[in-house]
């Protein structure tokens, strides 16, 4: 097995007396999509922010592509990991192309030398996310789905081996959700390790290789979708009755909400 891209050991993050992330281990490889699921307040987004280098862990060690995130500078970090968070600025005055172009910033230490490779990276990122026709449009005037795809293209263009997505499908209709999730798979197919916080359990069931179920800052279960998405485990962690059947066409687990007194 090749060296992992992400190696997180015993990551702990506290705010005051509260331990939001409690001794979490996580290893991610190229080509892999890992979904982090769990109820509100489980520490999913906090964990993602620690992995992104936004928050410094109080304990534990974290390396991305062999770089210790604790000592890495912002530029060095940007070359090995990209982040897409929900609720970023939406009134950006630049064109969609300019936004995607900015994804190349971490690789622009030598502007002239990298210009043509930048251009091809930008174009192929927009091709893959079907945003080429939006290139000249002002980002602020795009629809929610278009904005998400343009930001996705920016993440593609950044070409980092670790991709962190915080609820990438929020506020999208089902068709756009599916599209973004397939793009997430594409990212992994291009030699990246994708880690996504997902609320939609069925999205995790079909699109993820591995599912990490968090509760109260710890990992309750980790494994393939079939291993983790079990009715009694989910019902217990979410405190909501659920049942799991096999998806009629996809063959993966299908999680259904049920009533406690069925």
């Amino acid at each position: 097995m090749p060296d992992p891209i992400l190696m997180a050991e015993s990551i702990t993050y506290r705010v005051g007396d509260a331990t939001l992330v409690d001794r979490i281990d996580l290893v991610g490889h190229r080509g892999e999509v890992i979904a982090i699921i769990g109820p509100n307040g489980a520490g999913k987004s906090t964990l993602l922010r620690v992995l992104a280098g936004d928050l410094l862990p109080d304990a534990g060690s974290l390396s991305v592509d062999g770089i210790d995130t604790r000592s890495a500078g912002p530029l060095e970090l940007a070359q090995v990991r990209s982040v897409m968070r929900s609720g970023g600025a939406s009134d950006i005055p630049f064109t969609a192309l300019a936004v995607v172009e900015m994804g190349r910033h971490p690789h622009r230490t030598d502007v002239d030398a990298s210009l043509s490779s930048d251009r091809s990276a930008i174009r192929s990122a927009m091709e893959r996310t079907d945003t080429l026709h939006l290139a000249g449009r002002v980002f602020a005037t795009l629809s929610g789905g278009e904005k998400t795809r343009v930001v996705m293209a920016r993440v593609f263009a950044q070409a980092a081996p670790l991709v962190l997505l915080d609820e990438p499908t929020i506020a999208l209709d089902v068709a756009h959700q599916e599209r973004v999730l397939r793009e997430m798979r594409q990212l992994a197919a291009h030699e990246a390790c994708v880690i996504a916080v997902l609320h939609d359990l069925n999205a995790a069931a079909f699109h993820a290789d591995r599912v990490v179920l968090m509760a109260e800052g710890t990992v309750r279960a980790e494994g393939s979708p079939v291993e983790v998405l079990r009715a009694e485990l989910l019902s217990d962690v979410y405190n909501q009755a659920m049942t799991v059947v096999e998806h009629p066409t996809r063959g993966c687990p299908l999680v259904l909400i049920t009533d406690a007194d069925r």
């Binding site: 936004d54 530029l75 982040v83 950006i92 630049f94 064109t95 251009r119 002002v138």
Partner: protein
């Protein structure tokens, strides 16, 4: 379509920029030239041109024309352009940094803060003292602003309002310094608070140009970081920008640049607010274009405003800040009414 052509076609402002730059240079030269001829004494173009030629060693000019055109008006025009270019640049930089079109160095209190230092500096060492004092006090005020930004970074409107309060308070302190000082050494209060280019000399210009050139180069170099910050502070960091460092260094540069302009010309209002606002639709929002355009636009605006300030009640001069405020005030109000919500 080739890559290059496609990239160009996707930029809606590239066509406008192609005519903007030549036009801007022509307008700048034209406004400068008109400013050399008009004033309390009108000097015909046929007398101005020989002065310019005489300065490069071609021919002779009348000594009276030379005294007015070269001794008084030329440094004034150049200083006006320099002050305007700096304020336009700083305005565009601050609007990018704070992600708000209402940011302006004078409204945020940097100018009034610098005026305190400049007035004290003037007591100690004339115009050079005023520039040095302005730079120091401008940087200190920027640091105060930095603290406000940190505290209120979720709400840019509050930063602006805090700046307005800070500016009002600091303006009052300028009065305490000026009214206690020797009037023959320290310029009067209206010079500091309304701005004026009446003190322009080659000596003042020579000192200011060095500081402003350094600050401008530093600020222009940060254009790309300002672009990235427009995506949001987290996004900029995720793309490799050290946002804390960029904010601190940028504010120091802005404070020093504004401080130097205040040392030579007092607080000239609304240039930093108005000019980027006018340039944005023409050259586009990317800072590598916007910053340069705001410099040339600001320069032209202040030289033109100073020309009006000299002519309106001639031979009495009115402060140049009155002219810029008459134009800038309504635009500020319009901007405020147009945008009811602000995104962080």
């Amino acid at each position: 379509m080739t890559d290059e052509a496609w990239f160009k076609s996707a930029d809606p402002h590239s066509g406008r920029r192609a005519w903007f730059w030549p036009l801007a240079v022509v307008v700048a030269l034209g406004v400068a030239f008109v400013s050399l001829t008009l004033g309390a004494v009108n000097i015909p173009i046929s007398d101005v041109i020989p002065v310019l030629f005489a300065k490069v060693g071609l021919g002779e000019a009348s000594s009276q024309a030379e005294a007015v055109v070269w001794g008084i008006r030329m440094p004034r025009v150049l200083l006006g352009f320099l002050v305007g270019a700096t304020l336009g640049l700083v305005g565009a930089v601050l609007q990018g940094l704070l992600r708000n079109d209402l940011a302006d160095p004078q409204l945020l209190g940097i100018g009034p803060g610098a005026a305190i230092g400049a007035a004290i500096g003037a007591v100690a060492g004339g115009v050079r003292g005023a520039i040095a004092g302005g730079v120091v006090a401008g940087v200190i005020t920027s640091f105060a602003l930095r603290r406000l930004v940190r505290r209120f970074s979720i709400d840019p409107t509050r930063i602006i309002l805090s700046g307005v309060a800070l500016g009002a308070m600091l303006s009052a302190f300028v009065g305490f310094v000026v009214f206690g000082a020797d009037r023959s050494v320290v310029p009067p209060i209206e010079f500091w608070l309304l701005g004026s280019l009446s003190g322009a000399t080659w000596r003042a210009l020579g000192t200011a140009v060095v500081i402003l050139a350094i600050a401008a180069i530093g600020l222009l170099a940060g254009a790309r970081n300002l672009d990235l910050l427009a995506l949001g502070e987290s996004e900029a960091r995720h793309l490799g920008v050290d946002t804390d460092l960029v904010t601190t260094v940028t504010l120091i540069g802005c404070g020093a640049a504004v401080g130097a302009t205040v040392g030579v010309a007092g607080v000239v209002a609304f240039v930093g607010l108005l000019v980027p606002f006018l340039m944005r639709p023409i050259v586009g929002p990317r800072h590598r274009h916007l910053l340069g355009a705001s410099m040339i636009g600001g320069g032209v605006f202040v030289v033109l405003a100073d020309l009006l300030a000299r002519l309106v009640l001639s031979p009495v001069e009115i402060p140049v800040g009155l002219v810029t405020a008459v134009v800038g005030g309504p635009v500020f109000l319009w901007l405020l009414s147009r945008r009811s919500t602000y995104d962080a």
